[in-house]
């Protein structure tokens, strides 16, 4: 029988304590507090006694048609924005990773990350100025004799702004995966008779799945929870689930109800991401096999 290997304590592992502490304080503890606050009576401020436990928040949530309808709407918009970002990002990321010269690659990467250098709100206002009635785009179209209507204050404007904001994240994530694909594999695929579509399906896509999953995570999750963009450009029907949660903290000052709404959103998003991850990895194994 094999002897059990005696584990010795490695003092180097103590160096992980600060990062573990940060993870505990900044991620796990707030999530636990969110769960606890979900069953709290309204608000708790420092120095005040615990306001009491209640199931009213849960009852109110179950009876709230508005929240569930907006949740479904937000998931729909999140899916739409994510799909658009994926479709637009693959060609861009492939071009940067495989087609352009190395010298141009860094310039193109700088162009992709340029929006990060400025305030998100400024970007939104800039886009609003472009697409509003009397804005640059409609004025130019009118000059060409094309009559157009502004898409501002519609769900279309919300999708446009969100795609504009989150496209760089998807491009960067896909780029990191595509860049690691060896050119020899692509070359071998062509030599063996596969066309471009077959090469993409059997070689490129399976190997880009890690980047794709990261991109989906970075795009889908924040888009579903966004409330600033729909509030500014979404018009009369621009409300999303993030707006309802925001109103509980900003207007209603009901921390407990806001917390339970946030918890439900978090659980739903985790389930969806888990399903997407499972499905994508399954597709990766089935189509491309292990590489």
């Amino acid at each position: 029988m094999d002897k059990k290997v005696k584990r010795t304590f490695n003092p180097v592992s103590l160096w992980t304590l600060p990062s573990a502490g940060l993870l505990l304080c900044l991620t796990i503890l707030p999530l636990v507090m969110l769960l606890i606050f979900s069953f709290m009576n309204r608000n708790l401020f420092p120095g005040q006694a615990w306001p009491g436990w209640t199931l009213d928040n849960l009852t109110r949530l179950m009876q709230s048609k508005t929240f569930w309808v907006l949740l479904a709407k937000s998931l729909g918009i999140g899916t739409e924005v994510t799909v658009i970002c994926i479709v637009a990002s693959y060609p861009a990321a492939w071009a940067i990773a495989k087609i352009v010269k190395p010298r141009s690659r860094s310039i193109l990467m700088m162009v992709v990350i340029l929006p990060f250098f400025t305030s998100q709100l400024l970007l939104i206002y800039a886009m609003m100025n472009l697409v509003q009635s009397g804005g640059i785009i409609l004025t130019a179209l009118q000059a060409l004799g094309i009559e157009g209507k502004s898409i501002l204050y519609t769900n279309g404007a919300t999708v446009l702004i969100l795609v504009y904001e989150y496209l760089p994240y998807m491009i960067l994530c896909l780029y990191s995966s595509l860049e690691s694909i060896s050119d020899n594999l692509i070359h071998a695929s062509h030599i063996l008779g596969a066309n471009r579509a077959e090469t993409f399906i059997n070689i490129v896509f399976p190997m880009s799945v890690p980047g794709l999953l990261s991109g989906i995570l970075l795009v889908f999750v924040p888009v579903v929870g966004s409330f600033v963009e729909p509030g500014l450009v979404g018009g009369s029907n621009g409300m999303m689930v993030g707006s309802v949660i925001n109103s509980q903290y900003k207007d209603n000052m009901n921390m407990g109800y806001g917390a339970i709404l946030s918890c439900v959103l978090l659980i739903v998003l985790c389930l969806i991401i888990a399903c997407v991850s499972f499905a994508t990895k399954r597709a990766q194994r089935k189509i491309g096999g292990e590489v």
């Binding site: 508005t66 509003q132 009635s133 804005g135 204050y153 009369s236 207007d251 000052m253 009901n254």
Partner: protein, 391 residues
């Protein structure tokens, strides 16, 4: 390997320091008792050299203009630091948790002063410590329950007032709008912009449905919801700031809706065609107050600040944009707001009153009253359901 260990040690040390700093208590304290003995002279006779007063307000809402802030600093030899907030909930949380900086004075609207007072965040102040308070118009003085508790103690001092009244663009609207229900006219479909706040929205819904919004306990929310549902097809968007409401006006998409006095005054000053009407059934009013934070260690200076912003000098410039040697940094004219100082109000000309929404004066002003937590839940649910277009 040694280099790696050194780098790992450096990174671990940095992260540990960040963790410790983040968990440390905030600097500054508001725990010192207020010294109620010395009265605020209001004439700059006491020197406050080297002292700093922290005041909390919305950004670019008058108090941080040079003629207000800079003039006060020059008068008293102190420094004024503004702390900006984006919502009263944020301000309340800031005060409850000690704030990023020590806050001595806060600006709060009438519908939130009671919450702050009940939470023990703002203190009662002897009006004798603020001599200019006696010049405040009687309409705005000692208003209970916004500023006075049931024992008659004053905890909030009025600063400016205004209306969020009905405004429309005659360039696009070829009929007179006189009542909130006129917003239901099919000609305005898709061109009405409303303030996104639930308080104003529910008041409008109540007025359209023929109810009195100032008594929340008697309000039939189903009727309010039905009135708002009728209004929904008319809505282009909901605005939340001066910029947002002005943007839609400039682009010609906003033809009618409610509008704050400040942006209305700005449009009038710019020569834009805009009409503001005060519906006879009632218009939405607001009254903004300055309060002293409970536990401040700058009680005297805080009283001097409130005394200054209620003074004739400051209130006149706030109402007219004139009468000051302090110019705005970019040379643009100062935004104007309606004063509460009676002497200033008496001295305003008709031309000066019109952009402030004071001529004609509203016949009936509806202010959002204190709501119980259950009423707030019901109001926000009704409003969110309306905005979400959920049947």
């Amino acid at each position: 390997m040694t280099m790696r260990k050194a780098l790992a040690l450096f990174l671990a040390t940095c992260m540990t320091l960040v963790l410790l700093v983040g968990c440390a208590s905030s600097g500054g304290s508001t725990s010192a008792a207020a010294s109620a003995g010395s009265a605020a002279a209001g004439s700059g006779s006491k020197s406050y050299a080297g002292q700093t007063l922290y005041v909390a307000n919305w950004q670019a809402y008058n108090s941080d203009t040079t003629y207000c802030e800079q003039a006060f600093e020059d008068k008293f030899g102190c420094t004024v630091e503004h702390v900006y907030y984006n919502s009263y909930d944020e301000l309340m949380t800031n005060l409850q948790t000690g704030g990023n900086k020590t806050i001595d004075c806060v600006m709060v609207s009438q519908n939130y002063t009671q919450y702050f007072h009940d939470a023990g965040l703002i203190m009662t102040v002897d009006p004798g410590d603020i001599p200019n308070y006696q010049d405040v118009a009687s309409t705005y003085k000692d208003v209970s329950p916004y500023a006075v508790d049931d024992k008659g103690n004053v905890f909030a001092f009025p600063w400016t007032t205004g209306v969020t009244s009905l405004a429309y663009n005659p360039d696009y609207v070829d009929f007179d709008i006189e009542h909130w229900s006129d917003l239901l006219n099919p000609k305005l479909k898709g061109h009405v912009c409303l303030y996104g706040d639930y308080g104003d929205g529910m008041i409008i819904g109540a007025l359209i449905s023929g109810q009195d919004p100032t008594d929340p306990s008697s309000l039939d929310l189903d009727k309010v919801a039905a009135a708002l549902e009728e209004l929904k097809p008319q809505i282009l968007s909901f605005w939340g700031s001066s910029d947002e409401q002005l943007m839609t006006y400039y682009s010609g998409e906003n033809w009618a809706g409610n509008m704050w006095s400040g942006p209305y005054a700005q449009l009038k000053r710019e020569g834009k065609n805009v009409k503001m009407v005060h519906p006879s059934e009632g218009t939405i009013g607001y009254l903004d107050y300055w309060c002293v934070v409970d536990g401040t260690d700058q009680y005297d200076l805080a009283c001097e600040w409130i005394n200054w912003i209620e003074s004739y000098e400051e209130q006149y410039t706030m109402a007219t944009g004139e009468g000051t040697d302090y110019k705005s940094p970019d040379g643009s004219p100062y935004p104007t707001y309606a004063p509460v100082n009676q002497k200033v109000r008496d001295g305003l000309t008709e031309d000066q009153k019109i952009p402030l929404g004071m001529d004609p004066m509203p016949t009936k002003i509806c202010m959002l009253n204190y709501l119980t937590p259950e009423q707030k839940d019901a109001w926000t649910d009704t409003w969110d359901t309306f905005k979400a277009s959920v049947g």
